[in-house]
Symmetry: C2
Subunit: 268 residues, 2 copies
């Protein structure tokens, strides 16, 4: 059975050599379409462009304007393809309006060396059943965030005080994560997972939309099936901006993706 993720990121060939997609309204959050969904869609077009390099190693997306549900065009251009990696430029637009410009380096994670020397520490999360499902969010919020319907996300209560008006102030949110339809997340899906959680500024008592300027994801391994652990942190909220670092750990305890984004602080 096709997963929701696969059908929502389906691409068709365009007559000009690019791709056409239909941005699904199920990924709307606030005033736009979720940036993680869009980078995942772009990532799929890149994978199709360099089939011998199926996996994203690094993708950097620069957000130019907010996307809306409906038709979108993706164009890709190979900058260099070597024996191990390929680098591709990709752009997403809607009716001629530029939405995202991206650069990506792809390779084959299953052909990379098997060494793992990680000093990063796996997020310490309570058992799934003791965490807070995002489906418990207030009706008002779910109405402007249909995005949440795509996920089965269980927030660590210690980092979710903002939901009841008592943010921790530490700038840290973490959660268990899987797709609502039960399909496992593949390496391309990890691009989306890195922008799935609420902005880490929620935990600083600053609710509201935090527009991403730039998001870079490093995919470091093919994730094992099952629940993922996702952690977001910020350490430098300054000059009207903040960075958000995300880690994704798989069910085998491996750090499978690391990302950082630069976003504007919410005005609210």
């Amino acid at each position: 059975m096709t997963s929701e993720w696969d059908s929502h990121t389906a691409l068709a060939a365009a007559s000009d050599g690019g791709y056409v997609a239909d941005l699904d309204a199920g990924w709307v959050v606030g005033g736009g379409v979720n940036g993680g969904y869009l980078i995942g869609l772009i990532g799929k077009a890149v994978a199709d462009t360099v089939p011998a390099k199926p996996h994203p190693l690094s993708v950097s997306a620069y957000y130019l304007s907010a996307s809306v549900p409906g038709p979108a065009q993706v164009r890709t251009r190979v900058l260099r393809e070597g024996g191990t990696v390929a680098t591709v430029a990709a752009d997403l637009s809607q009716a001629g309006v530029a939405r995202i410009s991206a650069l990506a380096t792809y390779g084959d994670l299953s052909a990379m060396p098997a060494d793992v020397h990680t000093t990063a520490v796996e997020p310490d999360l309570p058992p799934v059943e003791d965490c807070l499902p995002s489906s418990m969010a207030p009706e008002d919020f779910l109405r402007i965030a249909p995005l949440l319907g795509r996920f089965d996300m269980r927030l660590d209560p210690a980092c979710a005080g903002w939901a009841t008006g008592t943010p921790s102030g530490r700038g840290h949110i973490q959660a268990w994560f899987r797709l609502a339809d039960g399909h496992d997340v593949d390496p391309l899906g990890l691009l989306m997972v890195c922008d799935a959680l609420p902005p880490v500024t929620f935990d600083l008592g600053r609710p509201g939309w935090a527009p991403t300027l730039e998001l870079t994801v490093h995919v470091r391994a093919v994730p094992a099936p099952g629940w993922l652990k996702v952690s977001h942190r910020t350490r430098n909220v300054a000059g009207g901006m903040f960075e958000e670092d995300c880690e994704v750990w798989d069910s085998s305890g491996r750090l499978v993706a690391q990302s950082r984004q630069l976003a504007m602080q919410p005005r609210g």
Copy 2:
């Protein structure tokens, strides 16, 4: 007096609307030209392209092939210019061979809000005079790394055991940093500083060249004059790759730049 940095990153207008530069041999390290110098050069071309947005907020560079001293061409293309930020695509090539492709978002740091809420901790370094000047490196090394002649870099002895065959194994290198000619580093210069220290893999006992796949720098503030503190860390050496996180702190104790790169592990 023109600083060495300014003269080595001088750009001239090309007849096709782009820029020409002359990559100075003083920035060679090992088999190529230092990636930080190159991203700084590209950054200068971007600043010239959008003069109302003089400062880099985020620059992502994807390295396609090793540069060599001599003529280089930089082309820029404005993707979007709004009231606060502008996003530009830029490419550096030599005689038609693509070297680097980059995306950049620029703004005016002096016009950004003055708020600072940093939980990041300033590097704890011994006094400058108790640190190890990079000019003390062995003759053999200085010969293949003329780059070191550009800097006045003082390494924290606690993170420099690798220089005498006893790397700490923690994946951490930190140093005091300024330009050898005494000129202060400006926001564009910070792009270079984020790739100035030796690869953090030296501290893991893995000497050798670590080719950068991707480097993203966030410049967060205009640096105060004087010495900078620069810290490099890695936490995930796996799958033949590693990430390297860099922080640059200025003499006023402000975190002025954060960067992350994905690099291939040295083979040696």
